[in-house]
């Protein structure tokens, strides 16, 4: 198979993830307790024999860059190839922030030109899936067209959320529409492309002159489809674009199903991530843990049901956590109850507080478009005072310096967001 180099787009703002992406890039959002979203794509790369990876960052990249370091957990710390971070930069030629996915690649034209590989693969850093790209690469070579797009079948009701492709019998993409209101097809573009490198260079140059911003989904793929130069590769495995809070929450708790669609426990193809230095998880005599994922470093003295605990979480005596996702180093105080809640890193729920209880029918007053399905969000390092009640569809965040929020109940759909945590 021809050598392929990957570019991972990891610069999106991810605004629809609300508080979770207020202080971190979307690819660095924790998933499944011990992983970050980017881990899946990086794992796929190295498993598929791609050992030269360029990561394009832009939005709050510190957490992301810190997570991937020199790429050691993915064996991408290499003499030749390996992992490189491409951040928007000032250069001799005009440079700017990345204005769209294809523009991000265009602005790194010098990298693209210097490569010697025949094909380049464009990936996204905010997808959760396990895929062997070798099948896709072989398909691309066989199909013989200069561009290939991986597509996946989505429910008909959801076609308006995706770029939808129509494909003829020979695998030629005949139509591509970004987020159509109605469509005959349910083949969604995964945002994963393989291009002939020389061809991509010429197309980017051509289109850059025509548009202010440049996006693969909006501009490049429709243009190539109109010229009949795109093949569609049908991927049948589990694939999820973490686009919204709801998809994040549902996909996370989906890991607790009897037979989860995402196979994390296959010893032969484990998802790779940075190792931790935490002791194994400790459960005391009074604890009761069921249907949950628990990471190293957790100390559980209370009840945990259908939840995901990242490393270093402490559940004190008499506390109860249900249908919730707790990020690293959270503490749930004695007797506190937490339900249907995502709690960001280092937050503390005071003793006997009740979080996430209420009527899911009243959407968030701050972000009704994202938060209307009955969960509550507690921001990074927020301290919820003991004894108060926080309803459902609530957004609660103190500031990073001083996390304490006022000692009063927060009703369904209400919010408290500290001064420098503008959403």
């Amino acid at each position: 198979m021809k050598r392929t180099v990957a570019f991972i787009l990891a610069g999106g703002v991810g605004k629809r993830l609300s508080l979770l992406t207020r202080f971190r890039a979307k690819p660095a959002v924790p998933f499944g307790g011990k992983y970050r979203i980017i881990d899946f794509t990086l794992t796929n790369c190295i498993r598929s024999g791609i050992d030269e990876v360029y990561l394009l960052t832009q939005y709050i990249s510190r957490s992301l860059v810190r997570h991937i370091g020199i790429g050691k957990p993915w064996d991408l710390d290499r003499m030749t190839g390996g992992l490189h971070v491409l951040h928007p930069h000032l250069g001799y030629q005009a440079a700017d922030w990345y204005r769209g996915t294809a523009d991000a690649i265009y602005q790194n034209m010098s990298v693209l030109k210097k490569l010697t590989c025949e094909n380049v693969m464009i990936l996204s850093g905010d997808h959760v899936y396990l895929m062997d790209y070798r099948g896709f690469m072989a398909f691309h070579e066989e199909a013989g067209r200069p561009a290939s797009v991986a597509v996946v079948r989505v429910p008909r009701s959801m076609t308006s959320d995706f770029g939808i492709a129509s494909v003829d019998r020979s695998g030629n993409m005949t139509r591509f529409e970004e987020k159509p209101k109605a469509s005959d097809s349910n083949l969604a573009s995964m945002g994963i492309y393989i291009f002939n490198r020389e061809y991509l260079i010429s197309v980017l140059r051509l289109l850059e002159a025509r548009h202010d911003d440049l996006d693969f989904g909006k501009h490049v793929i429709p243009y190539l489809v109109s010229k009949g130069e795109v093949s569609a590769y049908d991927f049948s495995g589990y694939w999820l674009d973490i686009g919204t809070l709801k998809s994040y929450y549902t996909a996370s708790l989906g890991l607790l199903a009897d037979r989860p669609r995402l196979k994390l426990y296959r010893w032969s193809s484990l998802v790779l991530t940075i190792p931790d230095d935490e002791p194994p998880f400790v459960v005391t005599g009074e604890a009761d843990v069921r249907n949950s994922l628990i990471c190293n470093g957790c100390l559980v003295r209370g009840d945990v049901r259908s939840s995901i605990l990242s490393s270093g979480v402490k559940i004190e005596r008499g506390a109860r956590v249900e249908n919730s996702i707790l990020f690293h180093d959270c503490t749930i105080g004695a007797g506190a109850e937490v339900r249907n809640t995502i709690i960001d890193k280092g937050a503390l729920i005071g003793p006997h507080a009740r979080v996430g209880f209420g009527d899911p029918a009243s959407p968030s007053k701050l972000q009704p478009a994202y938060l209307d399905f009955g969960i509550t969000l507690v921001g990074k390092r927020t301290v919820v005072p003991g004894g108060i009640r926080v309803g459902t569809n609530c957004l609660v965040s103190g500031t990073l310096d001083r996390g304490l929020i006022p000692r009063r109940d927060i009703d369904d759909g209400e919010f408290f967001v500290g001064g420098d945590v503008r959403l």
Binding site: G32, K34, L272, P275, P280, F281, V282, V289, R290, I294
Partner: protein
């Protein structure tokens, strides 16, 4: 003060029975995700020691795998770092390490070429938390040829250790190795700090043992200083002491959970531990990659252990990747890596009849199953039984 640290890791560890059949004692798993040597290595790292040689010779593969380049301890360094030294020959006579002092002597070039002022000799098979820096400082101030670490032990334990008598000014005046009875209150912890020039002068062929051939003669010359240590220190001398020290972690977990003194080790790379719908886990330590569908209580589960529906694991230590089948019961047992207990089998149950044959082994009433042993469906391994690695235990039930 620049220090060269040598960790003795060559013992056969026969006292740990089947647990050391295929691995060095220092590489025996401990505490849910660690190996015994991690405690010593973490002490070194926390004490700022950055040049460490491990002297190994018995089943070193497990140790070599575990240490790798020393990355988890940040010992993959350009200068110093960690390396494993096994007996080798220099074109002339070659032999195994004949004892602790001989192991040092065979590596005398390392000591000779080192710029260290002092040589710290440690045992890799002890579990303890110790900051070596105060001892190093004490040694520097005393200026003795040698300083040894000592600790007060209970009179009933004195026959297990090398016992030491000290003068009021901190000099060791007498040393008895494992005395049946002794009035000496301090045990030597096997932690020796030498002046480098002194080591070079003293080591030589025919001097095999650090205690008998080096420490004892030096005591006569009043050149051994004693440094008293009063923290946690455990020498795992038998399967039952291994079992006891392990399960003690359930009560005294600070040994592994102290945020100021983390124990460094290799990552397992496995997903988080998963407790299924009807799991019941309590009073246990559970490592990542475990899937618990049954009941686990008072136990330690290493990474990747599977406990099926209806299975019960109690008061047991389960090494990585064991599988406990549905409705099986494991009590008061140690299961080495890859042991499979099939559905309905039982391990560690007390014998049905009081006059059942007692096992004359050091494991007491703990059942120990060697690596890869398989207990067939419905079969029973009684309390205190020792099952050799890779053995298959069949069911004795008649049709």
């Amino acid at each position: 003060m620049k220090i060269l640290t040598l960790i003795l890791a060559g013992g056969t560890g026969t006292e740990l029975s089947v647990l050391t059949r295929h691995r060095a004692k220092t590489a025996v798993p401990f505490g849910g995700r660690y190996r015994i040597i991690d405690f010593c290595l973490s002490n070194c790292v926390h004490s700022g020691l950055q040049e460490i040689a491990i002297l190994a010779q018995y089943s070193p593969k497990s140790l070599i795998d575990h240490i790798g380049m020393g990355k988890p301890w940040d010992l993959d360094r350009k200068s110093g770092g960690i390396y494993i030294l096994q007996p080798s020959h220099s074109g002339e006579a070659a032999q195994w390490y004949l004892g602790t002092a001989d192991a040092l002597y065979q590596n005398i070039d390392l000591i000779r070429n080192s710029k260290a002022e002092a040589i710290l000799v440690l045992s890799g098979d002890q579990i303890y938390v110790m900051d070596y820096r105060p001892m190093l400082q004490y040694h520097g101030e005393r200026g003795a040829a040698m300083t040894i670490a000592i600790k007060k032990v209970h009179p009933s334990q004195r026959s297990r250790f090398g016992m030491v008598r000290c003068s009021r000014d901190g000099l060791v005046t007498a040393f008895r190795e494992k005395p049946t009875e002794s009035t000496f209150r301090f045990a030597s912890l096997g932690i020796y700090l030498f002046r480098r020039d002194f080591v070079l002068d003293t080591l030589g062929s025919g001097k095999r043992d650090i205690v008998f051939d080096i420490v004892m003669p030096l005591i006569k010359r009043n050149e051994v200083a004693a440094y008293e240590f009063d923290g946690y220190w455990e020498d795992i001398g038998s399967v039952s002491s291994y079992y006891r020290a392990s399960l003690e972690l359930l009560k005294n977990r600070l040994l592994i959970t102290d945020p100021d003194w983390p124990i460094f080790t290799q990552g397992s790379g496995l997903p988080p531990a998963r407790c299924a719908k009807d799991s019941r886990v309590s009073d246990s330590i559970i490592a990542d990659g475990c899937i618990v569908k049954g009941k686990v209580t008072g136990s330690i589960l290493f990474p990747g252990v599977m406990v099926e529906e209806g299975a019960i694991v109690e008061d047991s230590i389960i090494f990585p990747f064991c599988r406990i089948g549905s409705d099986a019961r494991v009590s008061k047992s140690i299961l080495d890596k890859f042991v499979v207990v099939a559905g309905g089998a039982s391990v560690g149950a007390p014998p049905r009849r009081a006059h059942a044959k007692p096992t004359a082994d050091r494991t007491g009433d703990i059942a120990v199953l060697g690596r890869g042993a398989r207990v067939s469906p419905g079969a029973a391994v009684r309390a205190g039984t020792l099952v050799e690695p890779q053995t298959i235990v069949e069911s004795r039930r008649r049709r």
